[in-house]
Amino acid sequence: MSSGFAGPTLEVRGLRTHFFTRGGVVKAVDGVSFEIGKGRILGLVGESGSGKTITGFSILGLVDPPGRIVEGEIRFKGENLVGLPDDRLRAIRGDRIAMIFQDPMMTLNPVLRVDTQMIEAVRAHHPVSTKEARARARDALGRVGIPSPDERLGAYPHQFSGGMRQRVAIAIALLNNPELIIADEPTTALDVTIQGQILYEVQKLCREGGTSLIWITHDLSVVAGLADHVCVMYAGKIAESGSVDDVLDRPMHPYTKGLLGSVPSRNKRGSPLAQIPGMTPSLLNLPDGCPFAERCPRADGDCRAALPPMVEHLPGRAARCIHPHLEGRA
Amino acid sequence: MSAPIAADLPAKVETPFRRLASEFVEDPLAVIGAVVLAIILLVAIFAPLISPQNPYDLSKLDILESRLPPGAKSMDGMTFWLGTDGQGRDMLSGIFYGLRTSLAVGVFSGICAMAVGMAAGLVAAYLGGRTETLIMRLVDLQLSFPTILIALILLAVLGQGVGKIILALVIVQWAYYARTIRGTALVERRREYVEAAVCLGLSQPRIIFNHILPNCMPPMIVIGTVQVASAIALEATLSFLGIGLPITEPSLGLLIANGFEYLLSGRYWISFFPGIALLVTIVSINLVGDQLRDVLNPRLKR
């Protein structure tokens, strides 16, 4: 999984995004590194509050105060996006990097027509006529499988169903043929059948266009069918990373193992569902050691003493754990 | 309105009040407002003790000392810090007494309106059906007309007097409380804790008063502060127009109206200082109310 392409489309190194709130500093993203190659799909997995969404916003420079990126590099095609002037970043947003949000009911402006919202996205980046922009919008709607796109262009968001709205949002993301799409749980709010369709289509569109995709989700089964590579996040840090098959079949980090164990499946029927005891720690005052130590069956004094480093236990398989599950391997 | 909250603080350590109080003091403007309001309340309560003169004891007034500018001295050596009005009345004393009347009318009508509005709103929320429709239509009708218009008409029909202006203020204001408490109560009613109380077989009045009502209080407090401020302003306006309080119970509005005729000849102090007192009172109430709303509104939490 490691090489085969010249430079990665996106390379995130040591990213820290902190929120300076009244109660203290919330370390939402705290030292995250990953990369993604051209046409690749990366699954960013974690529970809510693990920092995966903020990671996505950080890449686009959309972190709102009191939050800000305090450290790290985000190299997009070699160019560091951190500290880039606003207008340079804006030129990249929506043109070369696009984002799809979680709740399709909330992502489209309710008082503006769909064509308005699509045309402005084209014209923000390309000096084309309204007519030309409209044609592109219609094509994009067609590509994501919206029937009679010409008519639908003139409609308002509330006249679409949730699934259709998410397709519109995806069409908006595709409008300018971006090199990278960040999809933040775009199917979580949808029915399972529609979820399947959208997953399939996004995957197809990315493969066809050579677009890289970061798929943020809490759902391991979605990642299993979609991504090439996966990063599991816990408490603002990456707990484990590797190729999808490796991570899902042979997890190293006890957290990943716990997460996999808590997914109900057919072959586990009848046996009690494993649970991770305890709760996600508050990001406001994390313990010194491993943030998962309190919930970890393998934790000992060393885990609580200092934060374990990210170690590549096997080629292409890194985990932030001093007692990884390596049984029967290496 | 902030006084009872503050009073509870030392006794209970980890109460919501303590959290609210610590958030409340974050805005220096609100703290200034609360302090000024406390001073104004003390002045109003102790007006007879601290006033240099009893402004309504006609035997103490000397027409020769009328319309004196601020800082002038009276024949018997008393200083009129804020000047005197057309009848030789010390403005400072007049303002102290006026504050007393204005605040008394504002607070009392506010409390009555809150009681009436809460009763109506709770009844509407709890009984539903026709009763609710009737009450809420009345509320809608009331709220679609400006307060001053309704007050004007009521007083035109009722005539002058302290009781009548309080009645007018209550009629003008009850609908705000009724609407808010009905909305809150409808939400609270569906909460699990009410269902639990019903399951425990608690009586309806007990559920309403012990369970629903306390949870409706935060918005009531916010509306209460704002409404008291607007009641004071409205009373002053009506008194200024000559249809509010009678001359025997002078409020700040009447003092200002009395100064109107002297304004054009440059004797500004007769209208100016009572107006400042009125303004400071209303602003400090609004500052406190504003901060209370931010503190009590969970939606604005970051």
Binding site: D103, Y156 | V157, F240, L279
Partner: protein
Amino acid sequence: MTVFMVRRLMQSVVVLLLMSVIVFLGVFAIGNPVDILISPDADQIERERAIRALGLDRPIWEQYFVFLVNAARGDLGRSFVFNEPALRLIFERMPATLELAGTAVVISLVVGIPLGLYAGLKPQAATSKGIMAGSIVGFSLPTFWQGLMFIMVFAVMLGWLPSTGRGQVGTFLGLKSSLFTRDGLAHVILPAVNLALGNTALIIRLTRAGVRETLLQDYIKFARAKGLSNRRVVGVHVFRNILIPLVTVIGLEIGGLIAFAVVTESIFAWPGMGKLIIDSINQLDRPVIVAYLMMIVLLFIAINLIVDILYSVIDPRVRLQDVKG
């Protein structure tokens, strides 16, 4: 849309009828009109004849019916004081009030919306805190006292602007207004600003609250993620959304301004309906009070109707419901 309009009109008629009952009961039934209509030294026979002539001996519902029939013909009685039809008096004074209220609305929008936008977009800036503190003062300033202070400062001390009356009235495109002459404009500034100030504060606060709430929405973040300029995000995405509460409140506030013109007109001796109603209340000129109230109710109903129509233009979600309804 037509179904919606018809339904709204029907509702308006019901409100109007309801208000006419309240006004009738309030003004006619409480207190005895005979005392005002008939001279105190008239003897018993004369009194009874007058009572019969005025129809005051008939049952209350019949009196109301007569009142209603007359009202429908545009007859709301004659003023005791002016001995003129009450309605004509109102109509004579109405343009001055509408002119004052209209100018005040324009002032409060032109000043309030930009300041509110600024304060909402940059809540932490010192300027924003200043704007908000100012708006609290503006909100708290009693209109009448603020008007007095205006007169004191700008008319008495500085002598820049006249303090009373409407000034010269000019004609433009068949419309008569003091806004068309220099003298008229000078006269309208103080009362209009006086009337506008509280409203401006309200619009600032409303705009700011709307902006702050809208900025938190996902669709704003999505708009930014599309790479739109700040101007477009604020000017189109935010503004279109805050327009909805703004239109509602502005509609209500126009009514409020017309009502509060009572105070401003009294202070600045502005010859509008507000001054007329205060004079009428003081002189117990009941037909004028009734005529004023019915006109105000009508005005309010008209404003509400316009607001509802505007509302459905701005908010597509409402439009859909209307089509369904």
